[in-house]
Amino acid sequence: MSDFLSFHTLSQILINGLLFGTMYGIAAIGVSLIFGTMQIIFIAQGSLIILAAYISFWLFLLLFIDPFLSILIIVPIFMLLGGGLYQVLFRKVAYAGKNPSLLIAFGFMIMLENLISLLWTPNTRAIKTSYTAYGIEMLGLQVSFTRLVAFVLAMLATVVVTFFLKRTLMGKAVRAASEDLGAATMIGIGTHWVNSITFSIGIGLAGLAGVATAMTFPFDPYFGFIFSLKALIAVAFGGIGSVWGALVGGILLGVIESLGFFFLSGVWADGISYVVFLLVLMLKPEGLFSGFKRIA
């Protein structure tokens, strides 16, 4: 096996891990924000990502809309959906302890999976465009075009969200509410309003992640749950509530998995992610990059 371990191979593995990890990262940002502001473990994030992927698939198949363009349609819809989901599902129980909201997220997730399965059949779907299996050569390494695009999108999204949180009034309100709920309420920041915005951002990001997923690999209705699990691990790496932390956490997870799959066989590699996950929780629960401030 050491015959393969040239610098070239190693860099190839790292690049692949990095690009793949950004998928986890986009999924994780939404989960992290929602977790940070409302203490809700939103395990339905992965299934919403898959929903976005299917919608993108439909738009492509029926209306010939390229996935890139579908982002312009899907992300706004999902942002509205996010606000709506909060109002319908979580507003009532937002402060009733963490158990009801966890179960509501779970109930919603299984509804969504089954709904997708009925609408689109449970079979695997994939989008095939002219650039789907296209690889470009960069610095002697083979880079998947679609994954590179996903990476760029993830970066852009993170920058936009960070800007929103730091520079806009609404964003600052979100940060204030997450840092000190009592004080925020006292000065008149409507907490349900703030929560809706947070959900909106989180689900909008799920929409983006969904399109990126649809562009990159095949998907089926039940893949969402695993995606959510990986997002949770990424959030643990990055620290709850941190946007950049979630993205970097996702990338780190991608790299660990990539290295793991290369050096170990199959299922052990899966286990490695969970072991690191537990270690991080135990030794650095505030996240590996606690240099970042919360919600920034």
Binding site: Q12, I13, F20, K128, A133, Q142, P218, S265, G266
Partner: protein, 404 residues
């Protein structure tokens, strides 16, 4: 008492269940033959479950159009009613719904589910407990035989024969296309390991050595490390076993990294229409396994295949096995003259059957073997390649990606 209302709700549920269970027992005259089957209708195997249900329904409808089966015991022709229970792609649930079909629906006989060893073995175990006949396919033969089931039978292919196919094909290649550096990539699961063990043994027999031999984790979304390894080793043929999403991802990454192979043969993940739909022309030249082909020269095969195309808009290389399974059962019931599980099973073992799979004969252990097939993807259809004597299509060697 606290929660009185809740107890009323619970009692209501229990009463409902009891009513449903005893309702079936009040049927007076026997009007139909109840055949129960446990299939994954939800959960990760739902895709397969839906199609298997369709195959069974086709067999039932075709039979009922002729009035049903003449059952001597009742002195008349009885139609078949199919009872489908969702096992949620979970083996524990599979056993539970088979119990329910036996005890609540009071089915006469059972048809098998999917995904060995899960959907099928729990069903077989439950059938043994209650001495109900479980007529099934889709299970690897050795673990099924180990259990020495007396109340079920198995109709499936022999792994040794199936795994030998690629080597026979390679042996038939001219010297210019000789395969020297094959790779064995199997998913790390029960089925995957079973396949890989046999592939290795047979490779030795035919004189081939694998340059790359590695398992991968199911659902791994990134195979670039495997592709990188294969490319640096100069692999020229790949045998791959995994789910369709994984195979699709793998082929895409092959193309992205410009890994060229002359021969690529997939099991489980490359046979479905979705594989072609996802990859388009990139799937050309790739081979898949199968149970059946609509081009088989057996009565009903072509028509069944066409019906499938009309319904699902793609081709199948598996549906015939399930339809054939039903054909065997219908004939066996007629020959037995009764719905008694023991007698029907005896009839299955004692007779020879004509089906869309060809002639079927069970041995004394309850196993009937059919030949695994191989087909090559060409312009959206799986062209039958093996068994050699049933087809005229010869395997085409794949040119490099940029020369297509």
């Amino acid at each position: 008492m606290k929660g009185k209302f809740a107890w009323y709700v619970v009692s209501l549920i229990l009463v409902l269940l009891v009513l449903m269970a005893t309702g079936a027992a009040f049927a007076k005259e026997k009007k139909e033959i109840l055949i129960g089957t446990n299939l994954p209708m939800t959960g990760i195997l739902a895709g397969v479950g839906v199609e298997q249900k369709w195959a069974y329904e086709q067999a039932v409808n075709d039979l009922n159009k002729k009035g049903g089966i003449l059952v001597k015991e009742y002195g008349k022709k009885l139609p078949v009613k199919l009872v489908v229970a969702d096992d949620e792609s979970d083996p524990g649930k599979a056993a539970a719904v088979v119990e329910r079909m036996i005890k609540m629906d009071k089915v006469d006989l059972l048809l098998g589910g999917f995904a060995a060893p899960f959907g099928v073995i729990p069903g077989c175990v439950t059938a043994e407990k209650y001495k109900k006949y479980y007529h099934t396919s889709i299970c690897l033969i050795p673990p099924w035989l180990e259990q020495k089931f007396k109340w079920s039978t198995l109709f499936f292919f022999d792994l040794g024969q199936g795994c030998d196919i690629p080597y026979q094909i390679w042996d038939s290649f001219p010297a210019s296309d000789k395969i020297t550096k094959p790779a064995l990539l199997m998913e790390d699961s029960f089925d995957g390991r079973a396949f890989s063990g046999i592939f290795r043994d047979l490779a030795k027999k035919h004189g081939y050595t694998f340059a790359l031999d590695e398992p991968w984790a199911i659902g791994q979304k990134d195979y670039s490390s495997l592709v990188v390894k294969a490319k640096s080793l100069g692999v020229d043929a790949i045998l791959i076993f995994g789910a369709d999403a994984d195979c699709i991802t793998f082929v895409r990454q092959m193309k992205e990294s410009k890994l060229n192979v002359k021969y690529m043969h997939g099991w489980k993940g490359t046979w479905a229409g979705e594989f072609w739909n996802a990859l388009g022309k990139d799937a050309q030249y790739i081979l898949c396994d199968g149970f059946w082909s609509m081009d088989f020269p057996y009565p009903g095969a072509k028509e069944l295949g066409e019906r499938y195309v009309k319904k699902f808009n793609k081709y199948s290389v598996s549906i015939g096995a399930l339809y054939g399974l039903c054909q065997i059962l219908w004939t066996a019931i007629e020959k037995a003259g009764t719905l008694d599980s023991a007698k029907v099973r005896e009839a299955v073992l004692a007779n020879e059957f004509d089906t869309v799979m060809g002639k079927v004969k069970y041995d004394k252990d309850g196993v009937a073997v059919f030949l695994s097939t191989a087909s090559q993807w060409w312009d959206g259809k799986q062209m039958l390649v093996y068994p050699f004597d049933r087809t005229t299509w010869k395997v085409k060697v794949a040119p490099p990606w940029d020369k297509r």
